[in-house]
């Protein structure tokens, strides 16, 4: 569920033109909403209210129906990725080693929920399943950097490294 306002929408006219093209192409097909949403997410990286509004107006589908689909499928995101995307492994090995607490701590410090992005666009947070580093459990990644054998009290210092 959306818990707070996120990064301001910065969609360009080019992106909009591209989306309108996709809609025009797919509009009359049965079940066009899913492919349109997939393409829209490719274009914008996520599906904020501004994008869903365009789709709603153009396809004459109530925005609630679109939002219902977007929040149902894990593949769709309402939030952009931050400059640094944090991914916490909640796979079995990491989870039993306490990655749930790591995930909670990150949400607490960043004041965002899973799948969301901080208002300054710096950090986004998501949960993932096994990344194949069970020996290092619990594990999280910040963009390409991997952090293993984590404890909750390390989190603050790790975040401080990213400008």
């Amino acid at each position: 569920m959306a818990t707070k306002k996120t990064v301001p929408f910065n969609g360009t006219e080019e992106q909009k033109a591209k989306l309108l093209g996709v809609i025009a192409e797919l509009k009359d097909q049965q079940g066009a909403l899913m492919p349109v949403l997939q393409e829209a997410q490719k274009i914008y990286g996520y599906l904020p209210i501004e994008v869903q509004k365009i789709i709603s107006d153009e396809m004459e589908i109530p925005m609630e129906k679109i939002y219902g689909v977007v929040t149902f499928y894990a593949q769709f995101s309402l939030y952009p990725k931050g400059k640094y995307n944090i991914s916490v492994c909640l796979g079995t090995a990491c989870y039993v080693k306490g990655s749930g607490d790591i995930y909670d701590k990150l949400q607490e410090i960043l004041e965002i929920g899973g799948g969301e992005c901080t208002a300054d666009g710096k950090f986004s947070l998501e949960a993932c399943r096994c990344i194949g580093a069970c020996g290092l459990a619990p594990v999280m990644t910040v963009n390409e950097d991997v952090y293993g054998r984590l404890t909750v009290d390390q989190i603050k210092d790790i975040l401080a490294k990213y400008e």
């Binding site: 107006d57 609630e64 129906k65 929040t71 149902f72």
Partner: protein, 583 residues
């Protein structure tokens, strides 16, 4: 197609091929409970409460009765075997595991489909699957209703009526699994969406998740205030349905007992909105003749239904000029009570409280609109739904069924049969046509019935020829039907002069504020036509059947307003509209 022989719990019935198990069982006199199922608009087989055992020749297995078609001869069905009852009970227990079980303080207590079924199924422990529960804030952002998702059982009837009957679709299922909840896009409050306030979602909700904002206590308080003159008026459709709350058969007109009950509740005057329906016809027919003969914006579209008006403002803002500028009847009545009647009786309008009893939740929104204050104070102070009036009657300890039949007070209680039928789809159109016919034909007292605009079809059309003048009319009820019609009018595919639109399918008799009937009744009986019969019956039995012959309406014009469409009539009885956006 040849019928198929089926045995339901050993009882032989024959049904057409393709009949659902639910319908076949109904034919055999067996009830199967349903939550999610609504014929034609929500056939999703999702709630699993209707599971039954079926044997199509290869042994018994479980299927959802509401959507499973019977296609084979000699099919056997068990609807009450231990396996079926066990499944039903487990499904109920699972629903209860996340349900806010505050039955004692729930508005639906005694009239809740979940509660009734738990009772029938002999649920002994509602906490058997106790665990984590979702917790939601009550959405009170809309003017007319509350949504308490803690009581929602996710049947999706509300979302089906909103999207499919009304073509609005501002509520739907968000998220998935345990987090699934009914809400609006981006967690907007209902009041921030383009919800039209029709209340159909409330009327079909099986539990206490959706309810109108209740003003019963406020009205009791006003009645107890000795400095206030408290006046009540009742819409046509209320008398056709309130009896259902007190054990009367569906479609019974209990007008007399309703008037008696209102008097015993302590209202100083018991007036009838049907009177203002006659007044509306005078204004609206005048407006139509004016536009039709002088080249004004056509088609003229009726404005009695505030759900429709709000829909027009959100979804067809370019057509607000087509809306009749007439206020809806209860607003007109309120304006007349606080001016004409107040002056006649020497009462300051500020000391008058007007309470409208309506089959409608959108009227609760309507009284908050700008430009609905004919006397400089709100025309109407409180709108109570039919259901709220029933609550008042029960709370006051009145034995409704044994009350005598009483009349309305006059002068604002007299109505023609034309005013009475305002509560059914096509009724406003017929009332207007009756008067227009008299005016244009010169035969002032001839009653002509217009049967083509009656009935529950979503869109009805007729061409009326009055003394060589052809008038094309159309009637739509249910906003999805209205949308279909208006799109055709906008594109020029269809030319119409006068349109009646009511937001609720079947018109006000099936309004969002009417008594809630459970799925076991709704799915097998057409509430729209049964309740409408009560109004057409009242009309047929009356001598006065033409709005323009209502002597008390005539007196209002003679003594106060001069003539229909006059400057003063416009000040009091007409309103303005707003162009809104879709959210």
């Amino acid at each position: 197609m040849a019928d198929i022989n089926v045995k339901i719990n050993g009882i032989a019935v024959s049904v057409p091929k393709g009949t659902t198990v639910l319908e076949a069982a109904h034919k055999a006199g067996v009830d199967i409970p349903t939550f999610c199922y609504m014929k034609e608009i929500n056939e999703i087989g999702a709630c699993r409460i209707c599971m039954v055992e079926i044997n199509e020749g290869r042994g018994f297995r479980m299927v959802a009765a509401c959507v499973y078609p019977i296609n084979y001869d000699n099919t056997e069905i068990r609807t009450n075997s231990p396996k079926v009852l066990d499944s039903r009970r487990k499904t109920l227990e699972l629903i209860l595991s996340t349900h806010d079980r505050k039955c004692l303080s729930c508005v639906r207590s005694g009239n809740c489909e979940l509660q009734a079924l738990c009772n029938e199924m002999g649920i002994e422990d509602e906490t058997v699957y106790e665990g984590e529960k979702p917790s939601y804030e009550v959405d009170d952002s809309a003017v007319h209703m509350w949504r308490d998702n803690n009581k929602c059982i996710l049947c999706r009837r509300c979302t089906a009526v909103c999207a499919k009957w009304q073509g609005v679709g501002v509520i739907g299922a968000n998220e998935r699994g345990f987090k699934t909840n009914i809400g609006s896009a981006f967690e907007m409050g209902l009041g921030d969406t383009s919800c039209v306030s029709c209340g159909q979602c409330i009327a079909v909700c099986p539990v206490g998740a959706l309810s109108e904002k209740d003003y019963v206590d406020d009205v009791f308080k006003a009645l107890a205030d000795e400095n206030k003159t408290v006046i009540v008026q009742t819409a046509p459709a209320v008398r056709a349905a309130i009896g259902e709350e007190f054990g009367f058969e569906i479609g019974t007109n209990t007008e007399g007992k309703m008037a008696a009950a209102l008097r015993r509740l302590g209202f100083d005057k018991v007036f009838d909105t049907d009177w203002a329906a006659d007044l509306t016809i005078m204004e609206e027919a005048t407006e139509f003749v004016e536009r039709f003969t002088k080249g004004g914006t056509l088609p003229l579209i009726t404005s009695c239904s505030p759900g429709w008006v709000k829909y027009c403002e959100h979804y067809f803002p370019d057509m607000t000029e087509n809306l009749s500028s007439c206020k809806s009847p209860h607003q007109m009545q309120g304006a007349v009570i606080k001016t004409y009647w107040a002056e006649k009786n020497g009462i300051d309008p500020k000391d008058i409280v007007v309470v409208s009893i309506m089959p409608c939740t959108a009227k609760k929104f309507e009284i908050t609109r700008p430009d609905e204050c004919g006397a400089g104070v709100p025309d109407v102070d409180y709108v109570l739904t039919t259901r709220e009036l029933a609550r008042m009657i029960r709370r006051a300890g009145l034995k409704f069924a044994s009350l005598p039949d009483e009349d309305f007070d006059n002068p604002l209680g007299l109505s023609s049969g034309a005013g009475d039928i305002f509560g059914a789809t096509g009724g406003v159109m017929e009332a207007a046509l009756r008067t227009a016919y008299c005016w244009l034909s010169g035969n002032n007292e001839e009653v002509v019935e217009f049967h083509e605009v009656r009935g529950t079809d979503g869109i009805k059309r007729s061409t009326v020829n009055i003394n060589g003048t052809e008038i094309k009319v159309a009637v739509a009820s249910g906003l999805a039907n209205a949308r279909t019609l208006l799109k055709r009018v906008q594109s020029g595919e269809e030319k119409v002069d006068f349109i009646e639109i009511m937001a609720c399918p079947g018109g006000c008799v099936n309004g969002g504020g009417q008594p809630q009937q459970p799925a076991s009744v709704r799915n097998f009986l057409d509430l729209r036509s049964e309740r409408a019969k009560a109004l057409y019956g009242e009309d047929a039995a009356k001598t006065l059947r033409l709005s323009h012959l209502n002597k008390d309406v005539q007196a209002l014009y003679d003594e106060y307003l001069e003539k229909p469409g006059s400057h003063k009539a416009h000040e009091l009885l007409h309103t303005t509209y707003i162009k809104r956006t879709i959210n």
